[in-house]
């Protein structure tokens, strides 16, 4: 009685953008059939996509050409057959080919089993190859799980970026809003405003070093967090000139500044 040895070897299967390893060797010999399967559970395809299977048939029957019927089936986890097809394949010594199975469109997601049977001379060869794979629907070209994973990551990143941007804008606005010195006597207020605005402008350009430079000027007392001028105890013009000089040193160029308008008509 003839029998076949059917084994699977590891080959590359490209499916749904994934490169996966799958095995399939068929061999034929006189007595005793052997079947080796490689579980390729990592294979994932979407309904409607092609599941490629690399098949190798070997005939150890003395080089005589034989025709075998190869049947391909897919079974659900509950054992329900959802796909079946077959083809006759001639094997002289070996026959290698790629068989593609289109996954039915309407099939539900889950783990499935692909099984291959070989029928020779009207008899089922006592050898079956099989491997499991996963069917999963796609959303916008991504498998559903991947879609939710990447979508979640993207959404989370977006929220973080938005929150960060919002915080930075708020902080920047806070820094660039001129500080109020209406409580300072009118004749001294202009000095407070020039100093405060110059510190603020320089903070935009050189960062918190602008606060350090201002805080180290004799006769000038500022809030080291906000840059608000608390007190000027020496000649204010001299302090402004010293501050501008300090900023020019760190910036390496001359510094422009503006004066606030006392009223809209000026």
């Amino acid at each position: 009685m003839k029998s076949f040895r059917i084994t699977f070897v590891r080959v590359l299967v490209v499916s749904a953008g994934l490169i996966l390893a799958l095995s399939a060797i068929f061999a034929q010999e006189v007595v005793n059939a052997q079947v080796d399967t490689a579980d390729a559970g990592a294979i994932k395809v979407a309904p409607g996509e092609l599941l490629p299977i690399s098949v190798k048939l070997s005939n150890f029957g003395g080089g005589r050409r034989v025709d075998v019927l190869v049947e391909y089936s897919i079974f659900s986890g509950a054992g329900e057959k959802i796909y079946s097809s077959n083809e006759t394949v001639a094997v002289e010594t070996t026959n290698n080919f790629i068989k593609t199975i289109q996954i039915p469109f309407g099939v539900a997601g889950g783990v499935y089993m692909a099984k291959t049977f070989v029928i020779y001379d009207g008899q089922l060869v006592p050898a079956t190859t099989q491997f499991s794979f996963t069917i999963e629907r796609k959303i916008l070209g991504l498998f559903r799980d991947d879609f939710f994973l990447y979508g979640g990551i993207t959404l989370l990143s977006g929220i973080l970026m938005f929150a960060l941007g919002h915080a930075l804008i708020k902080r920047r606005r806070g820094r660039s809003t001129p500080l109020d010195y209406s409580d300072i006597p009118r004749d001294k207020r202009i000095f407070y405003e020039i100093l405060s605005d110059t510190i603020m402008q320089m903070r935009e350009r050189v960062g918190d070093d602008a606060l350090l430079i201002a805080a180290n000027i004799d006769g000038l007392k500022i809030d080291k967090e906000t840059g608000k001028v608390h007190n000027i105890s020496e000649n204010p013009s001299k302090i402004i000139a010293t501050l501008v000089s300090g900023y020019e040193k760190i910036l390496g160029k001359k510094v422009s500044f503006s004066l606030r308008r006392e009223n809209p008509n000026l």
Binding site: S237, K238, A241, K253, K254, S256, L259, N265, L266
Partner: protein, 128 residues
């Protein structure tokens, strides 16, 4: 709407002409002065809407010219933008600035002419 007038006070001819050209493109009418003395004369006779003033100039420097302009009842309110290469690290200069109140003290090397003109437009827009 009447055309806004700008007095451009700058001793460097090429820079003065460049400023006037840009102002013309922006539909401003410009008067040109090459020193402080001309600036005072033109300012008090033409009453421009804004003065763009250099500081270091021959005959009369910009701060002296500004002081004279501010002594006039019209001149005490005219907006002035200083455009200079002189660094404001001198105590007397700061004192003069505070006294005569230009709106901006702009360093030439720090500003593109188009941005200077934008400042001018902002000031005149606020005064409408």
């Amino acid at each position: 709407m009447p055309q806004k007038t700008i007095l451009v006070v700058e001793d460097e001819e090429s820079l003065r002409e460049a400023i006037v050209d840009i102002l013309r493109l922006k539909n401003f009418l410009s008067f040109e002065a090459k020193d402080g003395e001309e600036a005072v004369e033109l300012a008090l006779s033409k009453h421009p809407d804004l003065i763009l003033l250099d500081l270091l100039m021959p005959v009369m420097d910009g701060m002296t010219a500004l002081k004279k302009i501010r002594e006039d009842s019209w001149g005490e309110k005219v907006p002035v933008v200083i455009l200079t290469n002189l660094s404001a690290t001198n105590e007397q200069l700061v004192e003069d600035m505070v006294t005569h109140k230009p709106m901006h003290y702009l360093i030439k090397s720090d500003w593109k002419l188009h941005d200077v003109v934008k400042k001018i437009e902002e000031i005149l827009e606020m005064r409408k």
